[in-house]
Amino acid sequence: MSEKRLYTKEHEWVVVKGSIARIGVSDYAQNELGDIVFVELPSVGDVVEEGEGFAVLESVKAVSDVYAPVSGRVVAVNEALEDSPELINESPLDEGWIAEIEIDDTAQVGDLMSEQEYMEYLKGV
């Protein structure tokens, strides 16, 4: 089964495995944010709504919300980010993942952009 990476307009990426969505931010996003110095992770068990801010990324002079691409319940967070927030800059699509959500409504996944659509979208940004 291939890992299809989907994207949001707010530059989050999503990889879905069964009913679990693993979420992070795109390479474009980490580049725009600059050096990440702190990540405010959600708590396991938190219920989130699609489009709601559920994590915060801090760089030296700016703060950015990470928005939930789908509604659901947080089942895992990447605790490595507590000591090494720079993982998001170094490996945004892999080791820099932020959290995993158990999806309420898999239909919401259909609203997300494919990788190609996201690349097109970036050209206009």
């Binding site: 110095v37 702190f38 801090e58 760089s59 030296v60 002079k61 700016a62 703060v63």
Partner: protein, 447 residues
Amino acid sequence: MRYLPLTEDEKREMLASMGLEQIDDLFQDIPPEAVFQGDLDVPGPLSEAELIRHFKALAAKNQDTTKLVSFLGAGVYDHLVPSIVKRIVGRGEFLTAYTPYQPEITQGVLQSIFEYQTMICELTGMEASNASMYDGASALAEACLMACAATKRELVILPATLHPQWQEVVRLYLESQDVSIVYMPLDEQTGTADLNQLSELPWGEAACAVVQQPNFFGLLENVTALESRIHANGGLLVMAVDPISLSLLKPPAEFKADIVVGDGQSLGQAMGFGGPAFGFFATTEKLIRRMPGRVVGETVDAEGKRAFVLTLQTREQHIRREKATSNICSNQALNALAATIYLAVLGKQGFRDVGYQCLQKAHYLKQRLLEIPGLSAAFSAPSFREFAIRGAFDWAEINRRLLDRGFLGGLPLARFGHPDLILFSVTEARTKQEIDAFVSTLRGLIQ
């Protein structure tokens, strides 16, 4: 005018370079109905000599402590200030610098704040301090709000023995955010928070319990009894402490305080009719990101040299805006610098001497006052630099007569609901001779 260097020729030249003819052309965007016609109703101008004369006349209408021997405390204290403190903070490079947002050219400010933060941590035992707040009262208010944010609770427990002005400030800040306050009542015998009434209080709902040490009456509270209750119920312990007392007293960290605040006026500041001085604010590593105010951290430059910089700025208003830990921007940096120099030049031993002398001299005055018939100790708890005396006299009138004889007496507590009580403070600045003269004068007035 003295501070306006532009000559008329230069003004004309500058206007011409912009294709304008007169100064008023620069204000053409202002709608006519908004333009102020006439002159501001303010006096002046005064030349420098006239200004000095004016201020000297105003100052002469005040009776100051170079002419009066003071036993007045209650939040502002007549301590000795080493002469170098004023000289160093008076240097133009410290006085006229701005907030160090360009760290490479303001390392003097940044390093001295880092040293200040370290000293506050040493005094309080806490893991991190900020760069200062406006004063102790507002620092306490912000500490309570921080506790509310950290615990997600909306109630705070305050002692009735907290300085009345600090109570007012905390009340105002908290009611603005719909946070309620419950008081620990006064134990009229000890002069501290009433431990017998603790179980009636809503500990489970409280974001924090506040203890002031020493309290408004100059007395030591039983912190341990309060600490165990608040922590057992998931709240935070906030201690408001006197910095000079920390030369002798156990640091708040050893009482397991979560947030420590206090007023720094005793540390190398003028009394200044109440300001400026500063508030200090310290906390645990766990709570650092919730702390209000500026904070200086250590780093390196491009060549690997140690340097200092404002850090954790993402808590602050200029980045987080309405989600900031506080709205505080300017603090009291120069006053914090004065405190740093004060503590440095006193040093480890000198600072202890100050606390020790305050304790001994205050005790001496208390013993001598208690020899006067009609006077008794108001409360039984141990005291540090201040204590209340009980006597059924018109203390305001006695103070008036003391003034005529060159003394600034203690603070009558009638206006705080204790008509027979008066609060005396003795610092290291008082001599035995002054204390003895005060006692015999007071004895003469009472009898």
